[in-house]
């Protein structure tokens, strides 16, 4: 044995891997991460998470769906994938910055997050909607004149 630290490190790595699913279970329950992902040994334990993202934008008090094309559309799809995996831990900041930067007249953005899941009680496919609204701020790239805060 070259050193007892090696054995302790070996066992430490094994213990970390063995204990991680406890934290993973908590993250699934509290933050809505996908049970399939992030090494929780929970693949195939339930259907994979699916989150669809619809983006609405507000201009002068009028709310309408964002017609995203090209790069912006791919970013929204990328956010939907990340949101499916990381749940509430997925940061929307990059996407918000891109949306606000795409059109200076946008005052606020609303994400309608639709999580499609198999209801364990009824065994039916159901949708659970959540709406999150973001106003233009200095952080997400607006000019100072357009600032509005919550």
């Amino acid at each position: 044995m070259r050193g007892e630290w090696r054995k302790k490190t070996l066992v430490g790595i094994a213990i970390a891997v063995v204990v991680w699913p406890v934290i993973h279970l908590t993250l699934v329950a509290r933050a809505g991460i996908d049970a399939w992902e992030l090494f929780g040994w929970a693949m195939y334990s339930q259907p994979e998470a699916r989150v669809q993202v619809r983006v609405d934008v507000e201009r002068d008090g009028v709310v309408e769906p964002l017609r995203a094309m090209g790069t912006l559309r791919r970013r929204i799809e990328g956010y939907a994938r990340t949101r499916s995996t990381l749940g509430q831990l997925a940061s929307p900041d990059d996407l918000l910055e891109a949306i606000f930067a795409s059109d200076a007249s946008i005052d606020a953005v609303a994400f309608v997050l639709r999580r499609v899941e198999l209801d364990p009680e009824s065994a039916m496919l159901v949708a659970r909607d959540e709406q999150v609204r973001f106003e233009r701020t200095a952080q997400n790239g607006s000019s100072a004149e357009g600032l509005r805060t919550d």
């Binding site: 070259r2 279970l25 049970a35 929970a42 693949m43 259907p47 364990p120 496919l125």
Partner: protein
């Protein structure tokens, strides 16, 4: 403290020095080979296909690590290099990672710690090899138990809900389970659409419900059997069979390769060595699958 650690590690079996070193060497080769093949296969999929240059370079470097890691002389640098490349891969596509990448990182770290140095003939230290192999056994054992516990915890396996859902939406699952699902039940499940309001995705066929429940029960009970010396060989054989059976539907080839290798560490001899050529051929077939099917279809059409 050390005596307690030794007792904990020995609970999963104790290898003599020669066998422990041989098992560690075989796992090193299996893990490196798995990652190299996976690196190339992953290029077909998003998000790897979005930066093909980076990931092709990583796959090629993992291939070199595999070749160097086959030799004892270069074992440690090859393993450390592969570990670094895998960490880069995981970071570059996070959070869209395959679970076996995290497993491989843990295994590579254990393997690296058991290799004390670089140069001619630095075989793994027998004591460290034994500890590393025992740690791998604990990871595999606990992982299997967790798989069963998670199925129980999320509640989609008690009434066959998950299997019904997958049968309805995945033709591969439908093929695998068609022998135990009555025709009327299969027709009902296949008629269900993947849209909100569809269902119920619940099994009526008793055999399907039984298979669903036996799966999580076996995933919890059989690994516990690995801790009992008299039951170890039976439990290992049963888990190998269960793993292969699951893969018929799941088709997670690289995860299966690592887990089968980990399960074979419970054998008295180094059986991982025998898995390596089987895994290599399977990985190569998976890598070449698009070209093989294309060649077969063009042959059939001409």
């Amino acid at each position: 403290m050390n005596a307690a650690l030794d007792r904990l590690l020995d609970r999963t079996s104790r290898d003599d020095d020669t066998v422990a070193v041989a098992k560690l060497q075989s796992m090193r080769r299996l893990v490196l080979m798995t990652l190299a093949f996976e690196g190339f296969v992953a290029l077909r999929y998003v998000p790897y296909s979005e930066s093909p240059g980076l990931h092709a370079a990583i796959a090629a470097a993992l291939g070199v690590c595999t070749l160097l890691g086959w030799m004892e002389r270069f074992a440690l640098p090859a393993v450390l290099c592969a570990l670094l490349l895998e960490l880069i891969t995981v970071a570059s596509v996070f959070p869209h990672n395959a679970n076996h990448q995290f497993l491989a990182i843990a295994l590579l770290a254990l393997i690296a710690l058991a290799h004390p140095g670089v140069g001619p003939g630095p075989r793994p230290d027998p004591g460290d090899a034994g500890s590393a192999v025992a740690s791998m056994r604990w990871i595999v054992l606990a992982g299997l138990v967790w798989s069963g516990v998670m199925k129980l915890a999320y509640g989609y396996w008690l009434g066959g809900e998950f299997l019904s859902y997958r049968i309805a939406l995945d033709p591969g699952f439908a093929r695998v389970f068609s022998p135990i699902v009555p025709d009327a039940e299969m027709a009902r499940l296949l008629a269900l659409e993947n849209r909100i309001g569809a269902g119920p995705f619940r099994a009526d066929a008793p055999l399907l419900v039984a298979v669903s429940n036996l799966t999580w029960i076996a995933e919890i009970a059989l690994p516990i059997g690995l801790l009992v010396p008299r039951m170890r060989t039976f439990a290992m054989g049963a888990l190998l069979a269960l793993m292969v059976a699951i893969q018929v539907g799941a088709r997670e080839l690289f995860f299966a390769g690592l887990m089968l290798g980990g399960l074979l560490l419970f054998a008295r001899r180094d059986l991982v060595r025998r898995l390596i050529p089987v895994a290599g051929v399977s990985y190569a077939a998976w890598l070449l699958w698009p070209w093989l099917t294309r060649a077969a279809s063009s042959g059939a059409s001409s």
